[in-house]
Symmetry: C2
Amino acid sequence: MKIIRSLAELRETLSVRDKVRSLVPTMGYLHEGHASLIRDARRESEQVCVNIFVNPLQFNNARDFETYPVSEDHDRAICEEAGADIVFVPTASEMLGAGPALQMAMPALTKNLCGPFRPGHFEGVLLIVAKLFHLFLPHKAYFGKKDYQQFRVIQRMVEDLSFPIDIIGCETIREADGLAMSSRNKNLKPEHREQAALMIRGFRIAEKAFNNGNANPADLAEIAQDVMLTGPDNRVEYTQVVDPETLEVLQEIEGDFVIAAAMHCGEVRLIDNLLIRGG
Amino acid sequence: MKIIRSLAELRETLSVRDKVRSLVPTMGYLHEGHASLIRDARRESEQVCVNIFVNPLQFNNARDFETYPVSEDHDRAICEEAGADIVFVPTASEMLGAGPALQMAMPALTKNLCGPFRPGHFEGVLLIVAKLFHLFLPHKAYFGKKDYQQFRVIQRMVEDLSFPIDIIGCETIREADGLAMSSRNKNLKPEHREQAALMIRGFRIAEKAFNNGNANPADLAEIAQDVMLTGPDNRVEYTQVVDPETLEVLQEIEGDFVIAAAMHCGEVRLIDNLLIRGG
C-alpha cells in the first residue's frame, strides 16, 4: 500500500488508466463503514484508492471543523487491512492552493434535509468531489448512504456533467444497537451513547406504523421524532420524509421513500436515514 | 472523418484514451478562426475532435439564440479540410436531457467585461464545457482568445477542479482590415461591415497612445471607445482595460494588460480584445 501526499506524485502514479480503478473519498477517522466501502471496492475493481482529506470548504461551522477527529495511523491500518492500494493524504494547501474561484451548487437537491442547516456544505462537497474525480480518474466511486443527500447530490452532479464514473451507494453499517457508524460517534459522551441510537429506532417505529397502514408522511416524521426526543439530551434539527430521487418533502406516499433526520445528541450532530419500501 | 450524434456512440468511440486527443469545442458556423484551432490541434495531437453545439444555456437573449447562424454542411467541409477525425453534433435534448440541477459560476472572473451584460452566460459555458471535457476526455482543448474572458474562466475552472487537460489559447484570426473572425459577422448588414472594424482599430490606436507614454487605463479605454463611436451605427456596451489573469479593471498599468470591448454594430453584438505588452 502506497501513501501519497502531493498532487504531482498522485498524477504520476495514476497517469495510466489501464486497470479498473475505484475511489473511496473519506474525511479520515475511518470506521467499519469506511472499511466496508474499501472492501466493496477491492472486490469490484483492480486498483483501490482511498482519499483522506478533511475538506475545510464543506464545514459551515468552525468548531465542527476543529473538533473533527483525526488519526492517520489508525486510518492507515484500516486501509491496509481492507485492501487499499493507494492512500492519498493531502494537506489543505496542497489540495486547495489559494482557494477556488469556481462555485458549484445544486439548489434543487439541497433545499431540504441538511441543506438549510449547513449553508455552503454541499457547495464545498461538490467542488472537492469533482476535483478528486479529476485527480483520480476512477471508473467507480464508493459513497455510504448514511449521507443520503450527499450521495444523491454527487450522483446528480455525475449525471449532469457526464463524468465517466459509476457512483456506487453502499448500505449504512451499524453498531449492534442500530446506531449508524460515523466518525463523529467518537465525540459522543458515554452517557449519550444510548440516546444516539434512538434515531434509527425512531425510523424503524415509523416504518412499522407505515406497514400497519399509516401512510401520512407528516405523521411518520412525527412518530420518528417523538421517539428521538425520548432521549433527554437529544435535540432534533429536522425529521423529513422525502422522495429518494428528488429529495422533495412528500405530501403523500406513492412508492419508496426515505425518512431522514439530523439530531444533536449532547454536543454531537448526527444524521441518519432509512429507505422504506412503499410498494 | 466520423460524424457522431449520440452520447452513447461518442462514449463508445472514445472509450480508449490511448492517443493524444484534442478537443475543439464550437457552436458551429465555423470560420477561418475555428479552422485555425482545428489545424493547431491536428499538428499537436493524434486524435482531433470537434464539438458543434449551440448551447442554449449560455444565451441570455432568446433572439440571439434564434438568430445564431447554423450551417452543418459548411461546418462539415471545414472540419474535414482542417483535419478533424471526429465531429460530434448532438441535439439539445441529447446533450442536456431535462436540464441540469447543478449550477456552476465564477463571480470573481465574471464581474467585469461581458459578465454583467450577459447574466447566466458564463454559468452556461462552465456547465457545458465541463460536460464536454468529461464526454471527450481530451488531453488538450483549444479555445480562441477572441473570447478572452471565456478562455480565462475555463482555464481557471480547469485549475480549480484539476481537470487533466491542457487549455490552449489561440490567437484571434482576423479579416484583412483587422475585424476578428466571428460566426456573428455573417449577420452584419453590408453597410455596417466597415464600421465593425473600428473596434480593433480603436484598440490599436490606444496601443499606440500607450507606447507613446499614456499609461492611464481610463484614457486608453476612452481613446478606443471614441474611435469605435466614429461609426454612426456602433453602440459600445463596455470598453475596459483589465489584468490578463484576474480580469480586474486596472487603475494603473504595471505590466501586460488586455483592452477589451463589446459593441453593437447595427443589430449585431461583437466582442474583441487586444493584449498589450506593458514591459
